[in-house]
Symmetry: C2
Subunit: 332 residues, 2 copies
Amino acid sequence: MAIVLDAMGSDDCPQPEIEAAIYAAKNLNESIILVGHKDIIREHVSESDFAGLPIEIVHAEDILEMGEKAVKSAQLKPNNSMAVGLRLVKEGKAEAFLTAGNTGAAMFNSLRELGRIRNVARPALTALFPTAKGFSVVIDIGANSDCRPEYLLQFAVMGSIYAEAMQKISKPKVGLLNNGEEPGKGNELMRTTYPLLESSKKINFIGNVEAKEVFAGKADVVVTDGFTGNIFLKTSEATAKMLTDILKEQLMPSIASGGDNSLAKNILSAVKSKMDPNAVGAAPLLGIDGLVFVGHGRSNSTALISAIKVVREALNVDLVGTVRQSIQEELA
Amino acid sequence: MAIVLDAMGSDDCPQPEIEAAIYAAKNLNESIILVGHKDIIREHVSESDFAGLPIEIVHAEDILEMGEKAVKSAQLKPNNSMAVGLRLVKEGKAEAFLTAGNTGAAMFNSLRELGRIRNVARPALTALFPTAKGFSVVIDIGANSDCRPEYLLQFAVMGSIYAEAMQKISKPKVGLLNNGEEPGKGNELMRTTYPLLESSKKINFIGNVEAKEVFAGKADVVVTDGFTGNIFLKTSEATAKMLTDILKEQLMPSIASGGDNSLAKNILSAVKSKMDPNAVGAAPLLGIDGLVFVGHGRSNSTALISAIKVVREALNVDLVGTVRQSIQEELA
């Protein structure tokens, strides 16, 4: 069974997608369906490139706009590459869908084409966040700006399944992102969510966590509403970028001098490896009734290949089936 | 007229406070009232230290607990050093109050002793946030976890006055911290706040700003609710700390080697100067009916001396009077 790869996803598409498809078909024993505008894909592929490989091109007439207009564009263009690709999953012609395109558009298209798992109130966006100990699953990072406590409880359940099935963490520790550690801290949403998480038998709740505890790796799953999660994610990215820019400015003369610049190089590579989106691959849209992964827009072919491996792992552990079962159990 | 300095404020109190008081009395022509437990202060001062200087010690019997217990402690201890110092301002025996103690406790004590400016719905905590262009005023950073749109409008007005009077920025640009730039982005609070800010004649609203625009210095005043502002502040601090730790780890061998470590030192000082709380001094509690400034807990005497200068500047420009007038005009 094939994995659908959105050929129109990454910032440099479709070249990284084509390279990743060829690698996965040759070396990972995967069948890949590349979905996108055929004229654009064919500009980058010669007849011989795919010869003998289980790679199929499926045409999508519509092309999504980039950035903030992507969701609106998806609403107006039902034959965008994501929609066409997701329909292949819906129709059972493929097992999973992977895109490095706009996350909001992926969520919109997924809801329209595949819908939610039964009893899931709101599907959520996840991110694997680098910490001192590895990675934490942050959920939701932007799908649901206005949340109710019950949504956050479901995010906790779905995030725990993800950490357990994919990150291989037994009884993952769940923290509620908050502005203080004590119970009773936070805004109304967090204060009312806390007792729900505390009394759930499906999760291992460790209480509130602040940003510094998230970075220290105290929680395997960090639960938050999509607005706060998005602020958290973008603030850490922006801070890291500001400091990296200062670093580069300081290191540039040393690198340009041509002398011994091993220190400068070590520093940059240590910081980069901590912040590298390519290391993570892709994150799932949890709660969607089908397997959908979204990678970073800056993904190159290496990142897409890791993402394909992650998708295969999610299929092997039946991530969607496990979420489906746990949500029913939580409600029972 | 004197400035009250909380002798029990900073992490290393009362030594930095005593040194700052002596400096300000000798070199800045200030009268300083040091408020705190007299036994503790006197352990650090000999008779001759204050000889001939306009420094007075006022005893405060109660001692606040640190950290998250500070606010509860302030509730139970009406004669803590902040409360005693603020009463001196209330009674007209001093002009302003400065502490490097717990911000929540400072807000609680200020509300109890001085109260709010008339028609101010909620006083707010501000921070001067380092950006590529200098500093931005972020308001609120933690006083009000649950906000209404009208509160955020008042934060915008008060933050603009602060930027104009203290940062000397004409028509300061006001941005709403959000998870996207387009109008209509954000949670319900941000979506309903946007049109209020847009239609206010007292501020120069430039629309939504994301973290990266805040760091780029796009807005002089960043308006947010206290929950989101606190998450924003703590996330940027935690990210900076994580990257600084990585940096130090990389630089340590070079510094320890004893050879040419100028590069390593330059890097650390460049990063440190960007994140140094001592550079900023202190931030006001805006909306309190009296002048109250809170400095960072890590403040040393240099930081407290800058803070005293900031307080004097706020007195010179009549910050509280200007806020009082603008809030009435906004409502008119």
